[in-house]
Amino acid sequence: MNKTVNQKAWFLILPVLILVAFSAVIPLMTVVNYAVQDTFGNNEFFWAGLSWFEDMLQSDRMWDALGRQLLFSAIILAIEVPLGILVALNMPKKGFWASFCLVVMSLPLLIPWNVVGTIWQIFGRVDIGLLGHTLAALGFDYNYTQDTFDAWVTVIVMDVWHWTSLVALLAYAGLRSIPDAYYQAAKIDQASRWAVFRYIELPKMAGVLMIAILLRFMDSFMIYTEPFVLTGGGPGNATTFLSIDLVKMALGQFDLGPAAAFSLMYFLVIMAISWVFYTVMTTLDKRDGI
């Protein structure tokens, strides 16, 4: 039987094509457009080639922000993942308290970023904040608006407070999917608590943990609202992460060209790191687990 050629079938993918074009491709292309042009106002643009990219690659400002960003993501991953697992391991398995814990754990996830920033902004204030005032009363020289270290600690604690629940809930779901027989077999084999974690729980959680790490990495790498509300990037530039810097450049200084070049590189960095994460973890998973 001959296949009839029917080019009309292409129309079937047209809706998706239009949707993706308007939601992703066209906006992205406008950014690409700005990245290769310069303007002196009056809506007159002229070709600038790759000079904005060269400029940005040589600017200390971007490298510093990238360095801070990587450090921030590394720290919160190093805290939130083990802490989330620990919380999940200690959550009740069933009954009223299990549901109670799940609800309480979900609460921080439901609070808008802006509000989280505001909560901690007030919480940490030395004059009226519960945390700031208590620390000051205890004799600590704490002030997140003036001290770089204090600002970092506050931003990190805020992120841990906001997002550890996500890791914990995912890890908890992974743990709940382990059949009882595994624990019974481990008892019969006289496995220690550590061995149960290392050889049963961790391998069974590997899949969801991979998703948790990936989500937390991408999210933390793009963080904007919470530190912006809390510290505004300060003191100085101490907590100016990539997004904050980008917004300053694009909207504060209205440097459209450099900001566009910056955001394209930002985008590529996130994609590249996520891809590396994903590839490494899936091959690890296939070869011998974690």
């Binding site: 019974q184 008892k187 019969i188 084999d189 006289q190 496995a191 050889y199 391998p203 011998d288 687990g289």
Partner: protein, 364 residues
Amino acid sequence: MARITLDNLAHSYLTYPRGPEDFALKELNHDWADGEAYALLGASGCGKSTLLNIISGLLIPSQGRVLFDGRDVTTAPTAERNIAQVFQFPVVYDTMTVRQNLAFPLKNRGMEAAEIARRVQKVAAMIDMEAQLDRKARGLTADAKQKISLGRGMVREDVNALLFDEPLTVIDPHMKWELRTQLKKLHHDFGHTMIYVTHDQTEALTFADKVVVMHDGRVVQIGTPQDLFERPAHTFVGYFIGSPGMNLFDATLDATSNGRHARIGDATVDLTQPYAATGRVQVGVRPEFIRLAAGGDGIPAQITRIEDVGRHKIVRLHAAGRDISALIGEGEAIPADTDRITFAPQGVNVYADDWRVAPGGESR
């Protein structure tokens, strides 16, 4: 290896059981002889897994004691009982190799490396997995994984008993036979006490020396496969074991002949031996012992359907107000004018209130 004694054992999942119906496992006394292979057979929910979990120590019974070689282990934790268990779904440590899996129970017990290596090698030979020792366990098939869980038990040479909880559920049909044969051979060669829980009568009858049939939380019969077939102690054993199961007829014993005859409907059946029974009396005859006849004595019957299952034919009949089955050999002809059935005398059992009545009058 050990003799396992169950002394007055019973279990209820409720904290305050109010009557016998609240017990998942009703009172039970039994000795599991050292080195024998037992099958624990029963329908789902009959209490067989409860019993197994009590023996393995995952569950503490609400009454009675469990003894291993006379030592009370009722409340001892699983690890202390030194038993091995193979579960319904293969339990292996995915990230370890087969070798590490087999060595794991020994390593946890702090055994020295040379001894571990020797035993792992030996067990690998026993379960026929020497070639795969250095492969990761996660990529293996379900039957290979079940063999590893079995090996993890046998690697401890002093293990008291090997327990199996429906271990062939997830195994492909053609591998089931092979694994069961291997298991039987291992039992023959090494003489571990084995307790095998299943709801599959073929598995139970081919695997075990003794089959323990459970029904509704109670052990209804313990016996060899032949006992269960020829002399089912309870009507449940009768229809649960055998394919198709035993035919049961409501009957009344004929007092005038000292209970040598029973009336089923309008017909009279010669029981050849005297019986005395009270309560609801039933006559049980396996399909293998039902003969088809035309005219003469016997219970009037009409053939409703004939199923050819290869080695024999199953004849479905309607007799004495109920549907019954008869088995006849492949080569045997079925008389076209069949209108009666008779019973082969050696295949007749009499039941009173579901329990078998021994001939000669004394009740079970």
